[in-house]
């Protein structure tokens, strides 16, 4: 039987497959360690949960050429400043509720999920909520019972998911915190609500 040239031999490709897979995996693991460090809550890219004590803005960065979240003046959520632990507990309640109510199968978070309802990445900053004075209460009321409130001209509505007051406040806290994450400019060209006095 004729022998194959090296580039057509089974053993060459078996070894190549093993090496390529191994090296890729090692690189991925190293990058994962670095990424974990950079996205732990309290880092530059993913701020601590107590960021909900401040005004959050989404401003164009001349150097990076995209919008980035910027922490503004103190503006505690629901008018009450929270410690890091209290803030984390509230945001955790919201995150748990978002999973328990299956929000991601209509909405997207950070652009991932379903496409039946708007992306929630910057929902805290959405002009829909009118002004920063009305926003918090409007959001809580909407999440608790959205089905009969104004949504859009299409007739597409969010169902009543039986969210309690405590859960709704947690969801709002989570959404405010999520808007502080540096998402490399996603969503692009977002037109934030007016928050200046």
């Amino acid at each position: 039987m004729a022998t194959s040239p090296w580039w057509a031999s089974e053993s060459f490709w078996r070894k190549t497959a093993i090496w390529v897979t191994g090296v890729s995996l090692v690189v991925l693991i190293l990058l994962t360690f670095d990424s974990m460090r950079q996205i732990t809550a309290g880092s530059k890219r993913v701020p601590a949960y107590s960021a909900i004590n401040y005004r959050i803005e989404y401003k164009f960065d001349e150097k990076r050429y995209v919008q980035v979240p910027v922490r503004g003046i103190k503006e505690p959520l629901f008018g009450k400043e929270l410690s890091e632990q209290e803030a984390e507990a509230l945001v955790a309640k919201g995150k748990m509720t978002i999973q328990a109510k299956n929000c991601i199968n209509c909405h997207t978070l950070l652009g991932n999920g379903a496409y039946f309802a708007p992306d929630l990445t910057k929902s805290w900053l959405d002009p829909y909520w009118g002004s920063k004075e009305t926003r918090e209460q409007l959001m809580v009321d909407f999440i608790k019972d959205p089905s009969n409130k104004l949504h859009n001209a299409l007739g597409r509505r969010m169902p009543n998911l039986g969210v309690t007051d405590e859960e709704a406040r947690g969801v709002v806290a989570f959404l405010k915190w999520m808007s502080t994450i540096d998402t490399n400019g996603f969503p692009y060209n977002f037109k934030s609500m007016q928050q200046e006095n």
Binding site: W13, I39, N102, F116, G170
Partner: protein, 496 residues
């Protein structure tokens, strides 16, 4: 004595009998996937339809979960199908394998019922444990996760032990390593974390490293066996190709994971790494097309099972276009900034899952029916000139391609109007959703969805009837074509 032309389990080996169960359950779940997809699609057009009863999030969740589970069932079945043949040894731990099938299937049924009846729960850990984990594609509650892990451990033991007691082929070695990775990755999706960036980071390990890495290698394995069976391609050829595909697939796919790390809070270097490696991801899919089409060509498409061969070719092209081309179209961060989270993704998802995975499972369903009926003739000159399988293939493919195109139109419109112009606000989102171009796309999607469903119905009918009463035996391609395929295919990879 095995009988011909009737379904007789005496025609199957132990693993194949179990495989048949997985295939039947897979087909039922495939039907559920289409049904709930149609319901969810209709809600785009008639938002009040089933509002408050079966809301979009429920229908969509069942739609995508049925998809994932039926494809996995197809893979598990395919592995049991080829196991004894490949290892040259009866399946080890078969009674346990049978038990696991029933446990797993009962768990799937319970999870679906809870999804449909309970739907959501309070914002507490108990909901995550018993109702819904609320993470796309892996919504199954934690108790089911644990059940799945135990089941796949048994499955893995059965496969590895069978190869160990028999002998490891190249296909067997790749299969065992791939299963280890595939099942291990599931663990990355089994914890709760408040930090949404970390949540999505690990969630993508499961989703991406499944569908764009380990599942692709899995279908490479299944394809290798399928080509040997239907075309009589020599083992050395398919196994060399398999190693090439593993190298290219993992070489591009593992770091291609980075294209999911553009916008979730992860560092900027992922824009470069993800963009570069995911741009390479189509290459192994081209290799797969070359491999399948070339081998079919050198064998003058003489094969022992025409429906299987047709679906294998559909797989090669579907994988290339759906996963490769449609994925590449929006994978670079410069375009993905506008397309991420729009109907573009849905367009890509539909063609990719169908092209890469549904097709090859269906190919194996036909292989199974052929043997189950006693290795009957399944080439040309079938009753009615084989119109049922041909129309099923046509309707399912055209239906999926139609849905893909329709959603692509909607996706273009959404990227332009919602993202580029309106800036992704709530108002911008709905301005795009109300646009006639978007709405048109949703109508066409539903229409092509119905075409897909018609193809499914025909497929079920065909699988139930093909080979019934057939008395002509299968002609073994391995006997007929060894010399030809050996000579011609060897040339293909450079032998002299």
């Amino acid at each position: 004595m095995a009988t011909t032309g009737v379904l007789d389990s005496a025609n199957l080996n132990g693993g194949q009998k179990l495989a048949a169960k997985y295939f039947i359950a897979a087909m039922i779940l495939f039907g559920a996937q289409l049904l709930f997809g149609l319901l969810a699609g209709l809600q785009y057009l008639e938002p009040d339809f089933l509002f408050g009863v079966l809301d979009f999030n429920v229908n969509r969740m069942v739609h995508i979960n049925a998809l994932v589970v039926w494809l996995l069932y197809g893979f598990l079945g395919s592995v049991y199908w080829l196991l004894e043949d490949e290892a040259g040894h009866p399946v080890v731990g078969l009674p346990l394998g049978n038990l696991v099938f029933w446990v797993l299937t009962t768990a799937v049924a319970v999870v679906v019922l809870v999804f449909l009846l309970a739907q959501v729960g309070p914002g507490e850990m108990s909901t995550i444990w018993f109702i819904n984990e609320g993470r796309e594609y892996i919504e199954a509650p934690r108790w089911a996760d644990i059940g799945i892990v135990v089941s796949v451990l048994v499955f893995f033991y059965n496969v590895a032990a069978t190869f160990t007691k028999g002998h490891y082929t190249g296909i067997g070695g790749v299969l065992v390593m791939d299963l280890l990775a595939l099942f291990g990755l599931y663990l990355a999706g089994m914890f709760y974390v408040t930090n949404v960036s970390i949540d999505q980071y690990w969630w993508w390990w499961v989703i991406h490293l499944w569908v764009e890495a380990t599942w692709e290698v899995m279908v490479g394995v299944i394809m290798a066996y399928g080509l040997m069976k239907t075309l009589g391609v020599r083992r050395r050829i398919v196994e060399t190709w398999l190693y090439i595909e593993v190298a290219l697939m993992f070489g591009s796919g593992i770091l291609g994971l980075g294209h999911h790390y553009f916008w979730i809070g992860t560092p900027e270097y992922w824009l470069t790494i993800g963009g570069f490696f995911s741009a390479l991801e189509p290459i192994p899919l081209v290799a797969m097309v070359v491999h399948a089409v070339f081998d079919a060509g050198v064998n003058k498409i003489k094969n022992s099972n025409h429906p299987t061969m047709a679906w294998l070719i559909a797989h090669a092209f579907g994988n290339f276009f759906g996963a490769g081309v449609w994925g590449f179209m929006h994978t670079l961060p410069q375009i993905n900034l506008y397309t991420h989270g729009t109907q573009w993704t849905a367009s890509h998802g539909h063609l990719a899952f169908f092209g890469a995975y549904a097709t090859i499972n269906i190919a194996f369903f036909y292989l199974a029916m052929q043997k189950w009926r006693g290795n009957v003739w399944m080439e040309d000159a079938l009753p009615g000139n084989g119109w049922k399988w041909k129309w099923a293939l046509g309707l399912l493919s055209m239906g999926t391609v139609g849905m893909t195109m329709a959603m692509l139109v909607s996706g273009y419109e959404q990227s332009q109007i919602e993202r580029a112009i309106e800036g992704s606000t709530w108002a911008g989102y709905f301005a795009a959703q109300a646009h006639p171009w978007f709405v048109q796309g949703m109508w066409w999607r539903e229409a092509f969805g119905l075409m897909t469903a018609a193809g499914y119905a025909l497929l079920v009918w065909d699988l139930l009837t093909i080979g019934r009463g057939e008395q002509r035996p299968m002609v073994d391609v391995q006997d007929k074509l060894t010399i030809l395929s050996g000579r011609a295919s060897a040339t293909a990879i450079g032998s002299t």
